[in-house]
């Protein structure tokens, strides 16, 4: 029997987590996300995205409140019973908080609350009470919170080999639910029977489909984990270098094939979205060079988007939109898009370098603010009346070329996708080549320690300029493609939006990582594109993501730093490995020499 203070000590994280979870629930309700997301049916006719959002905080609170025990100096998994108890407490408190909030709102009167907090609507109350009225609803929230908390708490106590497959499976079901606009279309194109998986009525997964996805994913994950664990019982270099390269090439080819075939299968809407993703991938690859490789935070990258779009438009013969109709701009040319493109790239590079030149010696955060200022200046100038004869002011330009090529028009979403894909591949190739060359090494050294890189012979100002120039060039291509895709160039006030979105993509994906950039773009552009509910809350999510990533995982989703489990161990352990398992080419120090 444990002492009172011990019991209290183990319960209080549960209480705290519960309160935080409750506050999160109230926030999600009041900001309108629960109501907005409730439109999307994920599974059957019951599980909406709003419901998932409602269930997440109690579950997460419980999960995070349960801590591993330290027994006899070793860290152990917490006992299932304590997980259950703490979980129930945490989840219960979360439920209690939102229930209390509900009661308060009812007492004040929904309409009165709504006059201030616009998102608190009768529909929201309906959702929160599950349509059962306030009294029953409160009870459901409380009990539901406790149940979810129990689940979350116990989840934490499961062993890794069991928990990971289950978690991945849940994630997969969610993902399949979210992809309800793509996956069924693809399956239809492939003439695969899909009514058992996706319902034609709700557009979401069927219960049968959900269970199937769950079981399959869980099994596959468990299998992969088992294989991985067995491989780790063997020495570090599993598989010959040739073997690994072969598998990698096969995977890349499969990926390439998939990418090429995708628009045919997935339909026009998806191709359109993927086209936008492609534009942002280009922008993000450009920013990745400046911020990811060279380590300089750039908050005004949207300027290159504008430069690329306007240059492309003006060079290919777009017209100003004025009150009197369409007018030719002061400076314009009527070049073919592909002839104009090198010029656009050159302009992007030059402007990038020019903007950077005066501020190279600045410290990191001041440099960032200056880039922000430059971006804003570009945006204001482009929208101004002063430059209206060239840029069209607030109305912008129209009739941008469709980059036609031997009969193909790239205004069509599916064709544009290929155009974007080609340029993305090119930019990715350039990034990859630069990263592994002398230039990339200089950038990396500069990013890791600028003064020391200088001392080692790297001309840092020159390489900073180079990063800005190349990044700017690539970014401008993104802008140019966007102009082609949409056919008009209208700045709105969206330079800062583009800058922040691009930054969020690079940071989410992992600074310096090309695959990360692609994943980041898919998540941050693709998802809101697919689901209008996300579109509404896009910036809110971006903000939250940025903060969360910086606090929890600054290296992003797919980090650039090479880490694998054996590398995280230090030198001594590795040498011990080599001792036991031997390696033909390794030159190892006899263990005694390295004893320290």
């Amino acid at each position: 029997m444990r002492r009172r203070s011990e019991v209290r000590a183990s319960i209080s994280p549960g209480v705290r987590a519960g309160l935080i979870g409750g506050i999160a629930l109230v926030y999600l309700a009041m900001v309108g996300m629960i109501e907005a997301f409730d439109d999307l049916l994920l599974i059957g006719e019951q599980v909406t995205l709003g419901l998932v959002l409602l269930a997440a905080p109690p579950f997460a609170a419980a999960f995070l409140a349960v801590r591993p025990r330290v027994v006899g100096g070793r860290v152990e998994r917490p006992a299932p019973l304590s997980g259950l108890v703490i979980g129930v407490i945490a989840g219960g408190i979360s439920g209690a908080v939102i229930a209390a909030w509900l009661l308060i709102v009812e007492a004040i009167g929904v309409e009165r609350v709504r006059s201030v907090f616009v998102a608190v609507s009768p529909q929201l109350i309906e959702i929160l009470t599950f349509g059962q009225g306030v009294a029953v609803g409160t009870l459901i929230l409380l009990l539901g919170g406790m149940a979810l908390g129990a689940l979350g708490g116990v989840w934490r106590t499961l062993r890794h080999g069991l928990r990971l497959p289950l978690s991945v499976a849940v994630g997969a079901v969610l993902l399949m639910g979210l992809l309800q606009r793509i996956a069924p279309t693809i399956l239809d194109e492939l003439s695969v029977e899909r009514d058992w998986l996706y319902s034609k009525v709700t557009f979401g997964l069927t219960w049968l489909g959900a269970v199937a996805v769950f079981v399959v994913t869980a099994s596959v994950t468990a299998f992969v984990i088992d294989r991985r664990e067995r491989a780790e019982a063997r020495p570090p270099e599993a598989g010959t270098p040739q073997g690994r390269r072969a598998t990698r090439t096969v995977l890349l080819l499969a990926l390439a094939l998939g990418l090429i075939v995708l628009p045919q299968l997935a339909g026009t809407i998806v191709s359109e979205i993927l086209g936008s993703v492609g534009v942002y991938v280009l922008l993000a690859l450009g920013l990745n060079i400046v911020t990811g490789y060279a380590g300089m935070l750039h908050l005004g990258f949207g300027a290159f988007f504008l430069i690329g779009a306007y240059s492309a438009a003006l060079l290919t013969g777009a017209n100003l939109v004025t009150a009197f109709g369409l007018v030719a701009p002061e400076f314009s040319a009527h070049l073919n898009f592909y002839v104009a493109l090198p010029i656009v790239i050159a302009i992007g590079a030059v402007v990038g370098a020019l903007l950077a030149a005066p501020v190279l010696r600045l410290r990191g955060d001041y440099l960032a603010i200056v880039t922000l200022a430059f971006g804003q200046i570009a945006a204001i100038l482009v929208t101004s009346n002063w430059l209206q004869p060239i840029t069209g002011g607030p109305q912008g330009l129209r009739d941008v070329t469709d980059a036609g090529l031997s009969g193909l028009s790239f205004r069509d979403p599916q064709d544009f996708y290929y155009l974007a894909l080609a340029f993305c591949a090119l930019a990715a190739y350039v990034s990859w080549r630069l990263a592994s060359a002398r230039t990339g090494r200089a950038w990396n050294a500069m990013r890791e320690d600028e003064q020391v890189a200088d001392a080692m012979g790297v001309n840092t100002p020159r390489y900073k300029l180079l990063a800005f120039a190349i990044g700017g060039a690539i970014g401008s291509v993104g802008g140019a493609l966007f102009a082609v895709k949409v056919g008009t160039v209208q700045p709105g006030s969206f330079e800062i939006l583009v800058s922040i979105t691009t930054l969020a993509i690079v940071i989410l994906g992992g600074l310096g990582s090309v695959p990360g950039v692609v994943v980041g773009a898919l998540v941050l552009i693709g998802l809101p594109g697919l689901l209008s509910q996300f579109e509404e809350y896009r910036l809110l999510i971006y903000g939250g993501v940025l903060v969360a990533i910086m606090i929890l995982r600054p290296q992003g989703l797919i980090p650039n730093v090479r880490r694998s489990r054996e590398l995280q161990e230090d030198e001594r352990t590795q040498d011990a490995w080599q001792q036991i398992f031997g390696e033909p080419e390794a030159e190892q120090e006899p263990a005694a020499e390295e004893a320290r």
Binding site: E237, Y429, V430, R433, L434, A437, R438, T439, G440, R441, A442, N444, A445, E448, D449, Q451, V452, A453, D454, A455, M456, G457, V458, N459, T460, L466, I470, V561, R562, R563, L567, Q568, E569, D570, E571, R572, Q574, Q578, E583, E585, A586, E587, Q588, E589, E594, R596
Partner: protein
């Protein structure tokens, strides 16, 4: 015969604090010179001034008879001066080999075009960089070779980090190498080993070495000449024996009573 490195009357102050107050020294080609002195005597500041991290307030620094005051650090490294740091400053997330390859940066030229199009000259140069980096790493024996070269630098043990930093400096193909307390934190065996490495740098690689050191066994074992500093200026110069018995030096280290 003009000295390889000449430092004449350099002064450097930060606010009211004078880190260097009229320091003179010179290093001839092929010498190993040690700089000793109590903490705060300005020794690391000397290195920072010589390598261009700071500009001196007064005085002159000449390398190969040419003034290098005002040059950027990377320019000075290109001229042939390399250095290590008192606190190890590696590039922690780059591999061991990459750290050394950065050293070769100032001796090579390939750029963006070559990297993207993989021109023959770029590929040859890249090969050359790898070989020279590996040679520099190999200077310290088998420790930094083999599979270890593909590991990120942060996994290295302390002594190996110091060695890597030196290898990186060696990879810049210098004429003069400045070592800032290279044996700090090493155990006796490693210290003696490093002492031999320093001599090898001169004998095998033809380098001139300027070393800041606290460990007198090392100073005694490597130095052709010893320079003692205190409060930012030179207080004694000569062979190890001469400097070790100099009363001013003893006073600086141990206080007046011991000198008296």
């Amino acid at each position: 015969m003009t000295p390889l490195l000449e430092v004449v009357g350099i002064t450097k102050h930060f606010g009211g604090l004078y880190a260097l107050a009229g320091l003179d020294l010179h290093v001839d080609e092929g010498e190993i010179v040690s700089v000793i002195g109590p903490n705060g005597a300005g020794k690391s500041t000397l290195f920072n001034v010589v390598t261009g991290l700071y500009e001196p307030d007064e005085g002159e620094v000449r390398f190969q008879a040419e003034s290098i005051v005002g040059f950027r650090p990377n320019q000075i490294t290109k001229l042939g001066v390399a250095r290590t740091f008192q606190n190890v400053h590696l590039f922690p997330n780059m591999t061991v080999l990459e750290n050394a390859m950065v050293g070769q940066h100032c001796r090579t030229r390939s750029g963006v075009f070559g990297a993207i199009f993989q021109t023959p000259s770029t590929r040859r140069e890249e090969q050359l960089i790898r070989e020279r980096a590996k040679a520099a790493l190999g200077f310290f024996g088998p420790r930094l070779t083999g599979y270890r070269q593909e590991q990120p630098a942060f996994v290295l043990s302390y002594a190996n980090r110091r060695r890597l930093e030196m290898a990186r400096a060696l990879a810049t193909d210098p004429k003069l190498i400045l070592l800032d307390e290279p044996t700090a934190g090493m155990n006796p065996r490693e210290t003696l080993e490093l002492r031999d490495h320093i001599v090898r740098m001169r004998d095998e690689l033809g380098l001139t070495v300027l070393v800041i050191e606290h460990d007198m066994r090392v100073v005694k074992g490597v130095s052709d000449r010893v320079i003692a500093c205190d409060y930012g200026r030179k207080i004694a110069e000569g062979t190890y024996e001469e400097v070790a018995t100099d009363p001013q030096v003893i006073e600086a280290y141990l206080g007046t009573k011991a000198a008296g």
